[in-house]
Structures are given as structure tokens and as C-alpha cells.
Symmetry: C2
């Protein structure tokens, strides 16, 4: 069941002065079907790691699963299928959907999610020594990102330590894997998520919906990403570095 | 009809030593509905520029429009709707779809597109002096990207000049705008496209389908992006810089 996550190959580096051979590593991107209670919900392109987490996280992002406790069982078939069994109503599919702009494509969010009310968030704070350790640990673990330049990394921090880390060809998918781990009961959402990807609407939305109070990114939010953070009361920290956060909303959860 | 593409706001830069105010610019991300012959096909998050091009490009990416000449008319309603009228069969919707992993989310591609045969490409070559001018012009025009760090830029080069340039919160959307311009008959696909985003499967697939022979990116391809380039005979140049291309497929279209 060891599915490779990278391919080695030889490329040609061309310059005005001439050409030379170069070894490169490519991130593996393959389609996986996601099933819910034996019904095919969709197929998604993924980096084949953290697939047990990806299945429920994807279904949460698409609006089929709403909360931890609903997921009963996940089976990953290496031939390209993730089967999630969950205690959800048969008509749990979202009605009106919006295709998302973001980097990583769970692909769509529902209008209800975007316009509905948010549940109160579990509270959490993070200190600067923790921010430093969190970011350095995520970046240090992002080996595939460093080698292939084609994956995003995403980590989750709570109780003074890194609870999870995932990579994916899509920034969305990496967040979905974290959310899947929460849905599988591995840890509570009361903590901080850090992604190397941009915080467009759908990224912030799914974090707010699962109840993560602190959302951090190496890079920028979009206007709608920030609007959702404000509406949901999420702390949004962009351009996150070990010793610097550019806080766009709710700085009170960042402790000195 | 001047829809703003950025928002100015004040954020808090926090460090272990203290906080200070900072002005930031945010890229505007808003949902637009895309209609085909008065039927709603979907809604997508976009940067509100190049919407006339985005409409047909989006419908092409989703498999509803197949070629230039089919598009009859496009109406953009600033309240959030792009109405495309096109000469397509009523059942032009793709059957089995795969949700994409990529950064920018037109969201889905059809299984047929991925597994089907590709039409022969119109031929084109690009020289290094052209590569230099092309990339520098795109990067120079990517003002919003420089200000907001939340948009991707994409340009198209043929006949020795830059034919089009677009930005979007999604790397896919920016490519869709270029493809839309081709569908609107503004220029032939026989040229080179350069994107600041990664070349995952769907990015390469839509370029190959519309017939663009040279696909260049500032960053990396994924394994499946390369596999599609090989199958379609597309030149794939990654890590593109003014004086350097790392060519993963068909280097013969790059002239010294």
C-alpha cells in the first residue's frame, strides 16, 4: 500500500547559452473517488497521502458531513477509492453550490455555508514561542514541497504541540486532511491551523465551519476570506513567519 | 461598471517585541454566476476583471463549450452574472467529472477529457529573446499580484508579442480568461501561455484541449500535468525565468 508521492525524471534546462540535463522530482497527482455510504460523491485529484483523513475532510468541505461523531469508518483502496461510512441523512447533499477560486480545489462550497450563521468557536490562544515552533516544524516537515515545488503544507497546533501535518497538490486538500483528522476524533478543533496556501473564501470557510479559531497562512487572504473570518469571529493571521504575524482579524488570540 | 479589484485596510503586525499598524491591499474575490443559453451552469469565485473572457473560458474548462466559433455573445452583469450565448447542443454537459486539485478551481474536469485523444496542435515556436520579453512583460503587469500576494497572472504570446494578460484569485481562472479570449476569436491558440501558477492536470489539460502548443509556468508541474503534456504533445516548460526554462517535454519548440 506504499503509493509513491514523487517521481524522479530528467529534464532539459535551456538557456540562451545552451542546454544541460537536470534531475527533477515531481509531486504525484492522481484521481481518487470519494464514496459516502457506497454512493460516489465525486473524484478529486490528490497527493496520495493522508487519504483516510482526506475522505471525510473532502465530504465536509462539500457539505455532506457536518461534524465529528458522524464518521463511522473509512476504507482506502489504493486503486483510487476512498469509502467513507457516516451517520448522515440520505439527502445531506448541499443544494446551491459555488465553484471556488482557490488553490487546491475541493471545488465547491454551498450558498448556505457562505450565507448562513456560524456556530460559536471553541476558544484557543497561541503564544509567539508557539508560533515559532509551529511554523518551523511545518516548514521543516514540508520536504516534498521543497523537492517538487508543487505541494502545499498544512499543520495543526494545539496544547503546545503539532497535532498533525499534511501535504497535497491542492492547498484545499491539505486543509481537508486536517479537517478529516478532526472529524475522525484525533483532536479538538480548538487550536491553530497554518497553511502555506492563500486564504481565499473556501479555505477560511471550512476552517470556521469545523470550529478552528486561529487560521494562519504563509501568504495572503482574499477580500472574501477576510469577510468570512470577520463574520465567524476567526483570528486571521497572514504572511505568518516564526517571529511575525500580520493579523487581519481578532488579534486577541495571539499572546505575546 | 468599474468593479474594484482591491480593498485597502489596516492590519496589525504582531511580533514578540510588540505591535504596529500596517496598510494592506486585499484582492477582491466575489462569486459570479455563469449562465449558458439562460441556464445556470455554476457560480465561481473570481477576481472581477476579464469577465467577458472568463465566461466562455469557464464553460470550456467545464466541458460545455468545445471550440471558437461556438460563442455567439457574452453579457456581463456587474451584480454577479455572466451570460454566455453559444451554439452548443443542449446536452453538452460532461458526464463523469473529476474535481481538480489545483489552485484556482474551475473545479472539475470530465473523465472523457482526461482519457480521450487530443487533436493535433497548431505549431508554434518561441525564441529566448521572446521568452525574456514575454515573462518580463507578464511580471511587470502583475501589479495586483505584487500588491496583494493573492492573485495569479497569466499571459499569452504569439506573433512576437503579448496578446493578452489576465489576473485572478485562482490560477485556473486566469488561464480560463486567456482561453475565453481565444474562444472569442481574439487570437489563435498557436502560441505560448505563461502562468505564475503550478501546472497540475487540469491546467495542462485545458491548454492542450484549446490547442496551445507551448505551456510555461513560473513554478512546477505535477506528475499528471506532465503526463497530459506528453500525451497531447504539448511543450511543458517549468521554473520559467527570462533566461532559463526547465523543459519537461518537447524542447524542440524552444528556439535558441
Amino acid at each position: 500500500m506504499a503509493i509513491p508521492v514523487k517521481l524522479a525524471l530528467e529534464t532539459v534546462v535551456m538557456t540562451p547559452e545552451g542546454s544541460r540535463r537536470k534531475d527533477e522530482a515531481l509531486a504525484v497527482e492522481i484521481p481518487y473517488k470519494v464514496m459516502l455510504n457506497d454512493n460516489e460523491i465525486g473524484a478529486s485529484m490528490v497527493l496520495p497521502t493522508g487519504l483516510e483523513e482526506f475522505g471525510p475532510g473532502f465530504l465536509f468541505g462539500q457539505g455532506y458531513i457536518a461534524s465529528p461523531g458522524q464518521v463511522v469508518e473509512v476504507w482506502v483502496c489504493p486503486e483510487g477509492k476512498i469509502s467513507v461510512y457516516a451517520d448522515v441523512p440520505e439527502d445531506s447533499a448541499p443544494k446551491e453550490v459555488i465553484i471556488t477560486s482557490g488553490c487546491g480545489g475541493t471545488g465547491k462550497i454551498s450558498k448556505d455555508m457562505l450565507e448562513g450563521a456560524f456556530k460559536p468557536l471553541d476558544e484557543a490562544t497561541i503564544t509567539f514561542p508557539e508560533v515559532r515552533e509551529f511554523i518551523l516544524e511545518v516548514l521543516n516537515r514540508s520536504k516534498l514541497g521543497q523537492e517538487t515545488h508543487c505541494v502545499h503544507g498544512c499543520g495543526f497546533w494545539a496544547d503546545g504541540k503539532l497535532k498533525a501535518f499534511f501535504e497535497d497538490v491542492g492547498r484545499h486538500n491539505a486543509v481537508d486532511k486536517i479537517i478529516g483528522a478532526i472529524l475522525l476524533g484525533r483532536f479538538s478543533p480548538a487550536g491553530a491551523i497554518y497553511t502555506t496556501g492563500r486564504l481565499t473564501s473556501d479555505m477560511v470557510l471550512k476552517c470556521a465551519r469545523i470550529g478552528i479559531p486561529i487560521v494562519m497562512s504563509r501568504t495572503a487572504p482574499s477580500s472574501l476570506g477576510l469577510a468570512i473570518a470577520r463574520k465567524a469571529g476567526v483570528t486571521l493571521a497572514a504572511y505568518a513567519r516564526p517571529d511575525r504575524l500580520n493579523v487581519f482579524n481578532r488579534p486577541d488570540r495571539i499572546a505575546g
